[in-house]
């Protein structure tokens, strides 16, 4: 019964998000890619609906089902209003990474390795691995509180109750379907949602111009982040939806720069999910918006104000109701995270750097990816404003995370940096993988293409 509930929870996300795939994600191909996109495009609408409906209707299994119907109705309306996306041509044989035959072999091997690595979180989820502290204390705790009280009511004075609540409402949704509050219920859905993130990244890589074989390698890199990735996937914290949101916001924003108008809304949907998932989501997506607008300006695109207003309106729709609710409840707003300036760049750099090269956390992921970005720098720099925007945006976000320690109350503690840095950098792994794909694609294509091609 538990597994049925868990699978039903993921299916509900996909059902809610499915209409948005047709409306926002041009060129999505195959069931795996479409379902992956649907799961992550359905995450914010369903959890937001659960929050808003809970303000007027007591929580129960019927409420959860009602929320699926309401959220799916809303996404169907969006699909009807926007219509289908424009056709995107399939990649041609000439666009191969090495050669069509070699590419097929690479894609096959990468796909097999991806499945093996994705089996790890699934196995761990089925075994019911111990859940991490902040799940009990924050993300899962909120879900339990809402479940027991039958409404989104806080426990005053408790840990970080004001945190954006996509993950708690996700867990609450599963609890309501199961009819009980259980700490392990979110594990299998989280593992499957992590697999969906790999599918979403592969879609974005293809739309950003990576040959299919390179897209497969990018998917493999997303799930090959050693224990930090698996921890992020299974912890039940807001990190997994935040990662998915940031990846879609950045990737689709750059696809918009390449001429797909509908991708602006896809980027906004990702940004809305990110802002609704974690405290750091909003500043991160605002940086994404600034970078994408700068890229659009460099490309000479018009109507930037209108584009920015649309994008911000979607994000505001996701997060403003929660802020209003938090303000009305008076449960704080995050001041405890911000301290006086901590101007010890050496300490911050050395401690964060140590985390990024710790074998047990990321293995060699960060040195290898940053090395590839450095190696392909001449190619991605010359590849046009869109590609350049993606890589520079990614690097800016990595520096922004580092800079956040200057004002963070965690900065002075080695233990706190050790606990927070892996989580903060996991958020950008898929986007870094996309940037690497663009760099490699640019390097491989440069000799084949006539000079002067942009983006």
């Amino acid at each position: 019964v538990t597994t049925v509930v868990q699978l039903a929870g993921v299916a509900a996300l996909a059902a809610v998000g499915w209409p948005l795939v047709g409306a926002l994600a041009a060129g999505a191909r195959g069931l795996v890619e479409r379902v992956s996109l649907a799961i992550w495009l359905g995450y914010a609408p369903l959890t937001l609906t659960l929050f808003l409906v809970g303000l007027v209707v007591p929580y129960g299994r019927a409420t959860a089902i009602l929320c699926v119907l309401v959220a799916a109705g809303a996404t169907v309306l969006v699909r009807v209003r926007l219509g289908a996306t424009a056709d995107v041509p399939a990649p041609m044989a000439a666009d191969a990474l090495v050669s069509p035959r070699a590419d097929r072999l690479i894609a096959l091997a990468a796909g097999a390795a991806t499945l093996v690595l994705l089996a790890q979180p699934v196995v761990l989820a089925v075994r019911g691995l111990p859940v991490a502290y902040d799940f009990y204390a924050i993300w899962g705790f909120d879900a339990k509180v809402f479940f027991v009280r039958g409404t989104p009511a806080f426990v005053h004075g408790f840990n970080h109750a004001y945190y954006p609540a996509a993950a708690p409402f996700h867990h609450l949704f599963l609890d309501l379907l199961a009819g009980r509050a259980s700490s392990g219920l979110q594990l299998l859905p989280s593992a499957l949602e992590f697999a969906a993130l790999v599918g979403v990244t592969r879609y974005l890589a293809r739309r950003l111009g990576a040959p299919p074989a390179l897209g497969s390698l990018v998917g493999l890199l997303v799930c090959a982040g050693a224990s930090a990735t698996i921890f992020s996937a299974l912890s039940g914290y807001g990190d997994l939806p935040l990662t998915a949101g940031l990846t879609v916001a950045a990737g689709a924003g750059v696809i918009w720069l390449r001429g797909d108008d509908r991708a602006l809304l896809l980027s906004a949907a990702g940004a809305a999910l990110a802002a609704w998932s974690k405290f750091e989501g909003l500043p991160s997506v605002l940086l994404v918006l600034a970078a994408v607008l700068a890229g659009a300006h460099a490309l000479g695109r018009g109507e930037l104000r209108r584009a920015a207003a649309t994008w911000l309106a979607v994000v505001a729709a996701a997060i403003v109701p929660w802020w209003a609710f938090v303000a009305s409840e008076g449960v704080g707003g995050g001041r405890e995270h911000v301290s006086r300036l901590y101007l010890e760049p050496g300490f911050i750099l050395s401690n964060v750097g140590r985390v990024l090269v710790r074998p047990g956390d990321f293995a060699l992921w960060w040195p290898l990816m940053l090395g590839l970005l450095a190696l392909t720098a001449p190619a991605w720099w010359r590849a046009g404003a869109a590609t350049r925007t993606l890589v520079l945006l990614t690097l800016a976000e990595l520096v922004a995370v580092l800079s956040a320690y200057v004002v963070s109350s965690h900065a002075g503690s080695v233990q706190d940096v050790r606990a927070t840095a892996p989580r903060l950098y996991v958020h950008w792994m898929p986007t870094v993988a996309l940037a690497v794909a663009c760099g490699v694609a640019a390097a491989v294509r440069a000799p084949r293409e006539p000079p002067g091609r942009t983006n």
Partner: protein, 154 residues
């Protein structure tokens, strides 16, 4: 394909290969590695200032002793913890009992027996002093800040 693209493709192949092997190697010891990479759970049990420690203890007890009557005794003196513990009791109303610190240690065994608890999960502040349980309790597991003990039969 020119020399530079070949170099890039070779670097990509090496990077993917090395990372996949390293990642698989790290994750081969699944539970062990994740145990090591999840210090926050252990810290949560041992961190004296964490207000949610009561919840964590109960959740831990839930895993260690499913369906067993466990009494949580908080002798740490942390107001936040006591509050959270009280709320945790609301979350686990059927199986959990909340032991007030005032009964520690003299009458704790009688107190637990009277309420049908077979186990005690005790949390205190981390100190250098040895951890001594009163007669009638058998230590099952312990960390510097908490101990899980079995209540001896009458």
């Amino acid at each position: 394909v020119g020399r530079f693209p070949r170099l890039v493709l070779a670097a990509l192949a090496v990077a993917v290969g090395v990372q996949v092997c390293a990642s698989a190697d790290v994750n081969l010891g699944l539970v062990d590695v994740l145990g090591r990479s999840m210090p926050s759970l252990r810290d949560g049990l041992e961190h004296p200032s964490r207000p949610a420690a009561g919840v964590v203890l109960l959740a831990r007890a839930d895993r260690l002793l499913p369906d067993a009557p466990v009494m949580l005794v908080d002798v740490s003196g942390d107001r936040g913890t006591s509050y959270a513990t009280a709320f945790a009791y609301e979350l686990y109303p059927r199986r959990r009992l909340y032991g007030p610190p005032a009964v520690w240690p003299s009458s704790i065994v009688a107190y637990a027996r009277a309420r049908g608890a077979r186990y005690l999960l005790v949390r205190r502040r981390r100190t250098a002093a040895p951890w001594r349980l009163p007669p009638g309790l058998t230590r099952l597991r312990s960390t510097p800040c908490c101990v899980l003990a079995e209540v001896a039969a009458r």
